[in-house]
Amino acid sequence: MASARVLPSTHLVLPEPLRLDGGQSLDGVTIAYETYGTLAADRGNAILVPHALTGDQHVASPHPITGKPGWWNRMVGPGRPIDTDRFFVICSNVVGGCMGSTGPASLAADGQAWAMRFPVITIRDMVRGQVALLDALGIGRLHAVVGGSMGGMQALSLAAYWPERAARVLAIATSARHSAQNIAFHEVGRQAIMADPDWQGGDYYGTGRTPDKGLSVARMAAHITYLSEAGLTEKFGRRLQDRPDGTKGAKSFGFDADFQVESYLRYQGISFTDRFDANSYLYITRAMDYFDLAEEHGGRLADAFAGAQAAGKGARFCVISFDTDWLYPTSESRAVVHALNAAAAPVSFVELSAPFGHDSFLLDVPALDRVVTGFLG
């Protein structure tokens, strides 16, 4: 049901094997990406926008499966805060993803899908893929890297390991490490997928059965963590769902989706399975769980950024959190800011007030637009 106006993404096959943190390397990795705007002659106007867990490269163009507008359409586009009239915006599907980049659904050398034979990847592996893409595009130093949630983790990882590649780093609603609570929620999602008989040990490709129930439950559980209690209450309260035949909602004294919030979550879960591969969900959540920039630098987060700042290669940073985000709360952003201060990096930080929980970074928050616009200059 791909929409006719959607052109397929550009694909880059990496010339070199992609070396992975897990010790393996992947040959012939494909990166699917979209670009918006025009690259300046001096190649100095590029902005990389890494996507979040369930995002993809369609940051500002319609999704080829759902036909919905790009996931950050309100942020990226002509005259928007990330202005495609001025900037050349790059968004690629992460390694491990399922929208054209190499992931567990891709074919391995033996012609079969990788499935669970796919190597476990890390956030830094994803960033390696991004850097390889920048190399292929001939972009040395980005004007900025801008990411929310897992995109923010990639932005911080880029700043830590490839500091010369970005002049500005904007990390929104994110963290330098996954907390026990973050890992716990991911584990619930993974167990839901793996408990689905249709998962079949991950070898469901070509069987005509996919673990939609498990993936759907994983998405439902995760979706709750992206919202706020107040937001859910305001949107749904305890209101009952009208029946499909038009009759007024009532308690069924059964287990139908009596409440609007149940109906909403079920829809979120089911529609997610149309566009996302369950094994990709396992691999990408794992990559996020493994993320801990401090651990990767001897337990001291400041050391992740100190070298680059001392060498004068460092970026300007801007860190933004939201007061209702309990998944990546302000304390996580403050830890990043603290470390950047200790590394003497130029850093701005603001906690914005918005009612939408973690999802605030994707939604209508005018103050966010102002800060992004100002920071990008």
């Binding site: 801007c318 800011v337 850093v347 701005s348 930080f349 603001v350 103050a367 200059g377």
Partner: protein, 201 residues
């Protein structure tokens, strides 16, 4: 009394801007919308950072291309390493601190030197107001009633001097202001509406 170039700033900020060494690393605590930082970066080539409790003001700083952190100076100064800055600047904020003495120690820990400005509660107009009316003065520089003012630790020039002596803090220079004009140091505790100090350990 020659007045320094005003940098388009409030008089106490202008005197600070005039006396910060060019190219210095500066932390402006309570930076507001970044007027002083912008002057220091634009006119003195400083590397200026700000801390401000109000999110809207921080957003305005970022939008001007300045580096500012939303934070509470009562708590978040501990985040900075020792001697992280050439100057720590605290303008018209010490009297709002939970513990001005501890904040002063923090300023002199993270900055090699510190600029501190504060309103002088012993200005003759205050004394007269208190004497005549028997009520907490409400003036141009302290315009908010006692029950809603953020100024929870009123102090005088003499009080501040005693605190500095007690904590063995050295005063490099000080400036006094009355009616937005710089005035001499003579009888400053009577005559100054507010004061600016340049301090070091």
């Amino acid at each position: 009394m020659t007045s320094p170039a005003d940098f388009g700033l409030r008089p106490d900020l202008a005197v600070i801007a005039a006396h910060v060494e060019p190219g210095a690393r500066v932390l402006d605590i309570g930076c507001g919308e970044g007027e002083l930082m912008a002057a220091l970066e634009g006119q003195k080539g400083c590397d200026a950072r700000g801390m401000e409790i109000d999110a809207h003001a921080v957003a305005k700083c970022v939008a001007r291309g300045l580096s500012a952190i939303q934070g509470d100076a009562n708590r978040d100064l501990t985040d900075y390493p020792d001697n992280a800055f050439d100057y720590a600047i605290l303008s018209q904020t010490l009297q709002t601190a939970e513990r001005p003495d501890l904040m002063l120690e923090e300023l002199l820990r993270i900055g090699r030197r510190a600029f501190v400005s504060f309103p002088n509660f012993a200005h003759w107009r205050m004394r007269l107001h208190l004497l005549a009316h028997g009520r907490m003065p409400v003036t141009r520089h302290l315009p908010v009633s006692w029950y809603e003012t953020q100024n929870i630790h009123h102090m005088t020039v003499r009080d501040f001097g005693e605190l500095l002596a007690d904590r063995r803090v050295r005063t490099e220079r000080c400036w006094f202001f009355g009616g937005d004009r710089q005035i001499g140091a003579r009888a400053a505790n009577w005559r100054a509406e507010y004061a600016v100090y340049l301090l070091r350990r």
